[in-house]
């Protein structure tokens, strides 16, 4: 499976999802004009990846400076996909990395963490 790679722009993060290492990274700003268009291909990739039941521990490293409300919904949808895969046995960890001075990023991470059950959701202040 080819990695999913998206170069960063001023309003979209760098994305590097890698099926070989099971380490997936998303870093930067996230407030595209059209969140559905940005997240669509990413979701397709993640769903195909998880459908193959990855054996190794799967890690998502997310470090988002800011994301708009449309992206917040898309992230929730992503975590729900991960939650379902985790509930059916895949070992998945989300590392939510945030700047310790960024109250919004911290608060948003906590809110996502509240709903995680089988999914391991870790908050990491930088």
């Amino acid at each position: 499976m080819q990695p999913f790679v998206s170069a960063p722009t001023r309003s979209t993060p760098e994305v590097h999802f890698d099926a070989a290492s099971h380490r997936h990274r998303m870093k930067g700003e996230c407030y595209p004009e059209n969140a559905a268009a940005f997240f669509g291909p990413l979701f397709t990739w993640v769903k195909n990846y998880l459908a193959a039941k990855p054996a190794g521990p799967v890690v998502f490293d997310l470090e988002l400076v800011y994301f708009n409300s449309s992206s917040s919904k898309a992230l929730l949808d992503l975590f729900e996909v991960l939650e379902r895969a985790a509930a059916s046995g895949t070992n998945i960890t989300v590392n939510w990395r945030y700047d310790k001075d960024n109250d919004i990023a911290c608060e948003c991470g906590e809110e996502f963490a509240e709903d995680a059950k089988a999914l391991k959701f870790k908050l990491l202040a930088l």
Binding site: R10, E33, A35, Y66, N68, S69, S70, K73, N102, E111
Partner: protein
């Protein structure tokens, strides 16, 4: 002065009103990015408050992306969407006020009123619960985004959000929204 004497009075009013930024014109995603980055740097630099800088940035993006999504004159071009809007950022006794305005189709008015009025008097915990519930439920078919913009801004606001909807013709109204952050 710049632009000729007819603008001197306008400038005087902006100065007296504590205006940090006045923008009126076409809004595109590039404008959102540029003005967003500008306010983040300015607040961070002058007020040395990174938390306020991120709050201001967050509200500015939601405000201007609402213009892009819902303004009556928005057009889709090959290079992205464009719509006319107005943004005023000014000092307020309670903090920093970000006001944004744009034309809307008049029949959008009741929906906007209903959405903003529903948030009045709701405390922080209540807003968080509403936000999480709305995010879980997903947008209705009239939303172009996640339908969370007003809730997101209400959570950042330190005083109740103020809005105005004023008819300008049979079909159009001017919608403006003030959001004050700490």
């Amino acid at each position: 002065m710049t632009g000729g004497p007819q603008f001197d009075k306008c400038r005087e009013m902006l100065r007296e009103g504590g205006v940090v930024l006045y923008f009126k014109g076409p809004v595109t995603q590039e404008v959102v990015e540029g003005l967003g980055s500008m306010i983040r740097r300015k607040v961070d630099f002058e007020i040395a408050n990174r938390s306020r800088a991120s709050q201001a940035f967050a509200v500015l993006v939601e405000q201007l992306q609402n213009v892009l999504h819902y303004a009556a004159d928005a057009v889709d071009m090959a290079t992205g969407r464009m719509a006319s809007g107005e943004l005023i950022i000014r000092l307020d006794p309670a903090g920093l006020c970000l006001s944004c305005g744009n034309l809307i189709a008049k029949d959008l008015g009741p929906r906007i009123r209903e959405r903003i009025d529903a948030l009045e008097g709701v405390d922080k915990e209540g807003l968080k619960a509403l936000y999480k519930a709305a995010r879980q439920k997903g947008p209705d078919d009239q939303s172009r985004g996640a339908g969370l913009g007003f809730l997101e801004m209400a959570r950042r606001a330190v005083t109740p959000m103020r809005y105005d909807i004023e008819a300008v013709s049979d079909e159009l109204a001017w919608f403006s929204l003030d959001v004050v952050i700490a």
